[in-house]
């Protein structure tokens, strides 16, 4: 029983090491996931903006104008999405 304390500290060190590697690998996986995310974030907002512009155009009969405006608004929304995702990645 002389080594009991020694064993306890060794267990503690091993446990903390285990926890560290767990966290590291989880972080890496989420970085890769975030990298996959950025592209679609941008494209999806542009697509949604364009579709909204197209629908509003066919409602009001203003054919090319709203689709052009909403394309750019959608692009802005896409950039906002990307910036937000990037900010979340840095946390």
């Amino acid at each position: 029983m002389t080594n009991f304390n020694d064993f306890k500290t060794r267990l503690k060190i091993a446990k903390s090491n285990l926890k560290k590697t767990d966290e590291d690998s989880a972080k890496e996986a989420s970085f890769l996931g975030n990298a996959f995310k950025l592209g679609t974030e941008l494209v999806a907002a542009v697509a949604v903006g364009t579709i909204i512009g197209f629908i509003l155009d066919s409602w009001f009969g203003t054919t090319p104008w709203l689709i052009v405006i909403f394309f750019f608004v959608g692009a802005a929304a896409g950039m906002l999405n990307v910036v937000r995702t990037a900010k979340r990645m840095q946390k």
Binding site: G33, K37, A44, A47, F70, G74, G78, N81
Partner: protein, 244 residues
């Protein structure tokens, strides 16, 4: 037929044609593989929780890892308020993961490579999160579209941009999963076709690519399920903890 890389995505009927009010609800290969994935999850978790030992066996260990993984993800991204939604997010993650993984077997069908499946899941999440937000905060939830500290002149434009950004969530969520799965499986099939057409002499290079791609696809299958679940958590977090 076999050389067409898109042939693997065909949905065909199994058994009789069933129509209710003009809507075709027949049993298809897609439904079959959804059932297979759901069944595999049930068997896996039942085996994992059959003997509740203090020192877990192999199956119990894997089941516990999955449980801890999702529980940690939810508490990290959405906080303690999201605890009641654990069963939903866990089922969602397991279903997407198992559908992706079952699709990795040769001759099987990848359910998540169809945008209609992923879009329905994403739309369900989108509607559910919006409803939860309105239930928890009432009309204050609309503040999510009006960021604080913006000049009055710019406010209408910013609000439109925020609304489009909000509406793009289900699109990006579903397109990401669908595109990743479809592109990966098409690529595998194309390289498989090269192996056959180049024959014994030149087929080794595409074969080695195929092997590497299979590994990559398994990583993507896991990663996309993870991204799908974590984004659900992030959207849930926005609805539960309003901080705009």
């Amino acid at each position: 037929m076999a050389t067409n890389p898109m042939h693997q995505f065909n949905v065909y009927r199994i058994g009789p044609e069933v129509k209710i009010a003009g809507i075709d609800i027949s049993f298809t290969n897609s439904s079959l593989f959804m059932l297979l994935s759901a069944g595999a999850i049930c068997i896996f978790l039942l085996l994992g929780t059959r003997e509740k030992k203090l020192i877990p066996g192999k199956m119990q260990l894997v089941a516990e890892i999955f449980y801890n993984f999702i529980a940690k993800m939810i508490s990290d991204t959405a906080g303690s308020k999201a605890k009641p939604y654990f069963p939903f997010i866990f089922s969602l993650f397991m279903f997407v993961l198992f559908c992706n993984m079952v699709g990795m077997f040769p001759y099987s069908f990848t359910v998540t490579s169809h945008i209609i499946v992923t879009l329905i899941m994403a739309m369900f999440i989108f509607v559910a999160v919006t409803v939860i937000g309105f239930i928890k905060h009432g009309f204050k939830y609309l503040k999510i579209f009006v960021p604080s500290g913006v000049p009055v002149l710019l406010l209408p434009l910013i609000t439109i941009i925020e609304i489009i950004s909000y509406l793009s969530r289900p699109v990006s969520l579903s397109v990401r999963l669908f595109a990743n799965m479809m592109a990966g499986h098409t690529m595998l099939k194309v390289f498989g076709g090269f192996v056959i057409s180049l024959g014994l002499l030149g087929g080794w290079l595409p074969l080695s690519f195929s092997v590497a791609l299979t590994g990559l696809e398994i990583l993507v299958a896991f990663l996309q399920a993870y991204v799908f679940a974590i984004l659900t958590c992030i959207y849930l977090n926005d609805a539960l903890n309003l901080h705009h």
